[in-house]
Point group: C2
Chain length 300, copies 2
C-alpha cells in the first residue's frame, strides 16, 4: 500500500464507514419478524468486506458530479447483490465453504434453509432500494440503473458466470474461456458499480459513459486476476476465507493457466490500461485510479 | 367448475396461452450460454402452472383499462418470482420435494447448484423485465410497480413468510399466527399481482386502488385456505405435487387448526367478502370475480 496517498486512504475509510452505516439503516432490524432471517441478512452484509463495489460507485459518481447522498442507495444495492451471491456461493451444493470474511459462513452460523432465504431476500432488497430511493434523479434514470444492475446480476451476468464456473470444475479451460467466465462472474457486477455511480447524478454524455465503462470492464478482470494470485499465495488467516481452495477444487484460474509470475504481470498490464482509460478525465478521476491500484496491490 | 361461464373459461385459456408465449419470448434461449442454466430456467417456468398470478394481473388490468400488451411484462414478472420461489422451496434444505406440476423438481432433473442459480436468475429476470419494458407507462409508475413487487417478494413478504413457515414446523400455531404466515408467504405476491395489474395502464384513483387491494388481500388468503384443503384431501396424481405433505411434515394448516369442514366454510366466507369488495365496480370486474370463484372451487 506504499503508493496509496493518505488522502485516498482517508477517503476510502470514510466511504467504507458511510456504506456500513447506509447498509445498517436499510437492512431490516434484527428484532423485526421474521427475526432469524433478518439477523442472517445483517450477519451476511454488515461488519466486513472491503466494499470495493460501493467504493467504485462513489468514485465513479465523483467523476460525474453525483452527491454522496445520491450514491448511498446504488452503493448499498451493489453490496447487497454481492453479499447475496457470497451467501449462496458458500452453500454446500456450491463451493461448500465454512469461512467468509473471517467468520463462519451463513449456512454454518444459521442453517442452509436460512442461508437460501437470506440470499434470496438480499437480492430482492437491492432492487427494492433502487426502486424506492428515487428522489435524487429522474425516474427514467432510476429505471436505467435498475436495468443495468439486473442484467449484470442475472443469467447473462453474475449468476451465469457462476454456472459457467460450476461447469468448468475439473475441465481444462482456454484462457479465452476463463476470461469469458470471469467477465460474467465478477466482472459484470464491478462494471455495473461504475455505471450505476456514473448514472446516479447529473446527466452524463455518452463518450464519458463509454470511457468509464471501459475502465469498469478492465477493473472487473483485474480484480479476478488478483484474486487468483492471492488465493494461490496467501494463507487463510490473511485472506479471511479458505485459501488454496481453487487448486484443491481443481478450478481453472489465471495462476493455473499462466503461472504466478505471468498472472501478476497480466494484472499490472490491466492496471496500466485502466489508468490509460481514465487519463483524459484529469484529477476528478483520481479516486477511480487509486482504486484500481488498490485492487491490484491489496493483500487480501 | 360448473359455475364457470364459457366466456370466463375461454378468457382464462387465452391469458394462460398468452402468458406462456410471453414467458417463452422473455426467457433466454436454451442454446444461449450458459445453456444448462437457461434450460433449467425454462424447465422451471414453462409448460405448467395455472398462471393464477398472471390471470390476476390481466383481470385487474381489465378493471383499470390497461391493454393486454401492457400487462405481459408485469404478468411475466409475477410468474417468474413465483417460479423462483417454487424452485428454491423444493430444494432439499427446504421442503425437499421431488415432484412439481407433475414433473421432477429442478434440483432432481438438473442438480442442486443449478436449481439454486436457476431460482436466483429467475428472480433477477423478473425485475429486469419490469425495469426494461417501460414504454406502456410513465417511468414513475414502473418504479412504483417495481417497488410493490420487491416488497411483496422480500423478507417482509414472500421470503419472510417462508422463514416463518420453516420456524413453525413442529409447533402449534394460533390461527392468528398461521394467518400472518400465509399473508406473507402466498398472500403478498397475489396481492402484488392485483396491484401491478391495476397500475399498468391509465392512472387510477386511490379509492379504486384500495378496493382492488382489499380484493387482492382476501384472495391471497383464500388461495392458501383452499391449498390446505386440497392438500388434505387430494391425491398426488391430481395435485401434480406430493399430496399430504403438510400432515407428514407436521406443518400447521387451516385444516389441522380448523378441521376440513370449517376450513371449507372459511374459504366460502372469504370468497363472499372478495366478491363484496368488487360489487361496486360492475361488469368490468367480472373476470376478477370469476377468478376468485375459480380459486375457491379448483380441484388442484
Amino acid at each position: 500500500m506504499s503508493d496509496m496517498s493518505t488522502d485516498f486512504l482517508s477517503w476510502m475509510s470514510a466511504i467504507q464507514a458511510r456504506t456500513e452505516q447506509a447498509l445498517d439503516e436499510r437492512l431490516p432490524a434484527p428484532d423485526q419478524q421474521p427475526c432469524t432471517l433478518h439477523q442472517a441478512m445483517r450477519y451476511a452484509v454488515l461488519g466486513g468486506g472491503k466494499r470495493v463495489r460501493a467504493l467504485l460507485v462513489h468514485a465513479a459518481g465523483a467523476v460525474t458530479g453525483a452527491t454522496p447522498d445520491s450514491l448511498d442507495a446504488p452503493a448499498c444495492a451493489l453490496e447487497l447483490i454481492h453479499a447475496y451471491s457470497l451467501v449462496h456461493d458458500d452453500m454446500p451444493c456450491m463451493d461448500d465453504d465454512v469461512l467468509r470474511r473471517g467468520k463462519p459462513t451463513v449456512h454454518v452460523e444459521f442453517d442452509q434453509a436460512t442461508a437460501l432465504l437470506c440470499g434470496d431476500a438480499l437480492q430482492t432488497l437491492a432492487f427494492e432500494l433502487l426502486a424506492r430511493e428515487t428522489t435524487h434523479r429522474p425516474a427514467e434514470r432510476s429505471l436505467t440503473m435498475l436495468a443495468h444492475l439486473a442484467t449484470a446480476s442475472g443469467s447473462r451476468g453474475m449468476a451465469g458466470g457462476q454456472a459457467i464456473d460450476l461447469a468448468s470444475v475439473g475441465h481444462r479451460l482456454s484462457l479465452e474461456a476463463l476470461e469469458m467466465m470471469h467477465i460474467h462472474k465478477t466482472g459484470a457486477l464491478i462494471r455495473a458499480a461504475v455505471l450505476l455511480g456514473a448514472h446516479a447524478g447529473p446527466p452524463v454524455d455518452e463518450a464519458l459513459l463509454q470511457r468509464l465503462d471501459r475502465y469498469g470492464k478492465l477493473v472487473g478482470l483485474l480484480f479476478q486476476v488478483v484474486d487468483d494470485v492471492l488465493d494461490a499465495q496467501a494463507d487463510t488467516a490473511t485472506l479471511g476465507k479458505t485459501a488454496g481452495k481453487d487448486a484443491e477444487h481443481d478450478k481453472p484460474t489465471y495462476v493455473s493457466l499462466l503461472g504466478l509470475e505471468e498472472a501478476r504481470s497480466k494484472a499490472e498490464d490491466l492496471l496500466r490500461q485502466a489508468c490509460d482509460a481514465l487519463a483524459p478525465l484529469g484529477p476528478k478521476a483520481s479516486h477511480l485510479e487509486a482504486l484500481a491500484r488498490y485492487i491490484t496491490h491489496r493483500k487480501y
